[in-house]
């Protein structure tokens, strides 16, 4: 019984906020335009789901964000390894990475649009450009930090250089690489939404900005709820994947803080 309460308890806060929303909206303290009732927003989501709009918009946004994320992940890990193992590459890329990291790379969206047009390619490219940085940084740091004694033990037991890379370096670096990926995923979503808002068209971002232009306030709020849920589910999935892949890691046993 106690376990059931513990599992349900976190949702109580969310429920409380939902209730507060509904009551506040109904109270008349704000206009329905500023804060539509939660029930109105949920009804709108339901309608969109029924008409296929939700699937269409959400699907496109997820496709672009995840495609960009996948490219950023693969290229980022590859680049991270290459830079770690190659002095010249490290010399070339270190300043690029450290200067590029804190830049608001979304500012480059108009340039990407100039070069690649208004279609999915630009949106996905923007996502890749933004999301690749945390992946490269994490992979590079992790690879350079692999304990010397792990490598020496493996060589002592007869491993070749090539075997070292995928039998020792990669698993040893995996925890940190996963963290980099977990940072990159929300970035991919944020950037994709912004790109969609700027470039318009279909997708959750485009739908939301169109709704705001038409003063369609339930539409705007519906979009927020939809993307919030999508983001939450994706992050949860990532955490599950991490727990599976890193079952051996000591921290997996320890509970995570907020």
């Amino acid at each position: 019984m106690a376990r059931l309460i513990l599992r349900v308890a976190p949702w109580l806060s969310v429920l409380a906020v939902a209730l507060a929303w509904e009551l506040f909206a109904r109270s008349g303290a704000v206009t329905p335009f500023m804060l539509p009732k939660l029930t109105t927003v949920l009804a709108r989501i339901w309608a969109d789901a029924g008409s296929g709009d939700l699937a269409h918009n959400l699907g496109l946004t997820l496709y672009r964000a995840l495609a960009g994320f996948a490219v950023a992940a693969l290229a980022g890990i590859g680049l991270g390894f290459a830079v770690a193992y190659n002095r010249a590459a490290r010399w070339l890329f270190d300043p690029l990475i450290s200067v590029g990291f804190p830049m608001p790379k979304i500012a480059f969206l108009p340039i990407i649009t100039l070069w690649l047009g208004f279609h999915d390619v630009s949106k996905i490219s923007m996502v890749v450009f933004d999301a690749i940085f945390p992946v490269v940084t994490a992979t590079l740091a992790a690879t350079l930090a692999v304990e010397r004694e792990l490598l020496w033990s493996a060589r002592n037991l007869g491993a070749s250089e090539r075997e070292l890379l995928h039998e020792v370096v990669f698993p040893a670096a995996l925890p940190q690489i996963m963290t980099g990926l977990q940072v990159a995923l929300p970035i991919a979503l944020i950037v994709c939404i912004v790109a969609e808002m700027k470039l318009g068209g279909v997708g959750l971002g485009g739908a939301m900005i169109t709704a705001s232009r038409f003063a369609d306030s339930p539409g705007v709020f519906a979009g927020i709820v939809e993307i919030a849920i999508a983001g939450y589910v994706l992050v949860r999935l990532m955490a599950r994947v991490r727990a599976r892949l890193l079952a051996w890691h000591p921290e997996t046993a320890a509970p995570a803080s907020v």
Binding site: R155, V168, P171, A247, W248, H249
Partner: protein
């Protein structure tokens, strides 16, 4: 009638170190001379302890013999041939275990056997044998993060022993363990050495540990490391009370006096 006295055959040393010097060149900061003109010869099946204060280069010497660091000045010969990199003939055991955290105990112990390209059943059989030898039966499927320090070191030992190395290079292997576990592990290591024909080169800074285990204790000076003295330990280890005997205490004292000045210099 034979006019020639029977002589013992000349000992062919297994590990020969000649005038070895080593300098550390960190990416930032000054160069450090870690070892200076060290010469040492170790016979097969000997149990030799390398003893000295922190920073005296004893671990460096071990790593050079293990082939993890390149020989720049001087020479190291293993069974007549110069050292050419690490290999399963010189098994290494580290202070912090260096177990692969993503592999279970069984998978760790199997690692070297996989590299020997043995048949899968043979790998499993041997791995299981060594896991049981070090007393970890029942923990085959545990991950290192689930084990205590002593158990981790047993697993590391099993992993190294599984490939049947002729020589064991041990770098303060019990340094990270608590006193009771350390004591138990020392006894177990000694028992294993007695049963199998291996040469052991054991690095430690603990004088008692060195006298307990080794036949010969090589005392090193503070940095730059040189060999200060070599002391033979001729104790009857079959006697269960030997470690409380005056003979033991005298040996410990003798060696501690040699080390003390160096330890002070190393501060």
């Amino acid at each position: 009638m034979s006019m020639v006295e029977s002589k013992e055959p000349p000992v062919k040393h297994q590990i020969v170190v000649e005038a070895l010097s080593h300098t550390y060149r960190p990416a930032r900061g000054r160069e450090v001379l870690a070892l200076e003109e060290v010469s040492l010869a170790i016979a097969p099946r000997e149990f030799v302890a390398l003893l000295g204060p922190s920073g005296c280069g004893k671990s460096t010497l071990l790593y050079l013999i293990g082939g993890f660091l390149p020989v720049e000045r001087g020479a190291i010969r293993i069974e007549g041939a110069p050292v050419a990199g690490p290999g399963p003939d010189r098994g290494i055991v580290f202070q912090h275990f260096a177990l692969f955290p993503w592999r279970t105990v069984r998978a760790n112990v199997r690692y070297g056997l996989e590299k020997l390209a043995l048949a899968r059943e043979e790998q499993e059989r041997r791995a299981q044998a060594f896991i049981e030898l070090v007393g970890l039966k029942g923990f085959e499927e545990s991950y290192p993060s689930q084990l205590s320090g002593g158990m981790k070191q047993r697993a590391a030992l099993a992993r190294t022993l599984a490939v049947d190395p002729k020589m064991l290079l041990m770098d303060e292997p019990f340094g990270a363990l608590d006193a009771q576990t350390r004591s138990l592990m020392q006894a177990e290591l000694y028992a294993i050495w007695q049963r199998t024909p291996k040469t052991v080169l054991f690095v430690t800074h603990d004088v008692q540990e060195a006298v307990r285990l080794a036949q010969r204790v090589v005392v090193m000076s503070a940095r730059p490391g040189k060999i200060k003295a070599t002391v033979d330990i001729a104790l009857d280890r079959a006697d269960p009370h030997i470690y409380r005997s005056p003979a033991f205490a005298e040996k410990v004292d003798e060696i501690w006096n040699l080390v003390r000045d160096e330890a002070i210099k190393a501060q």
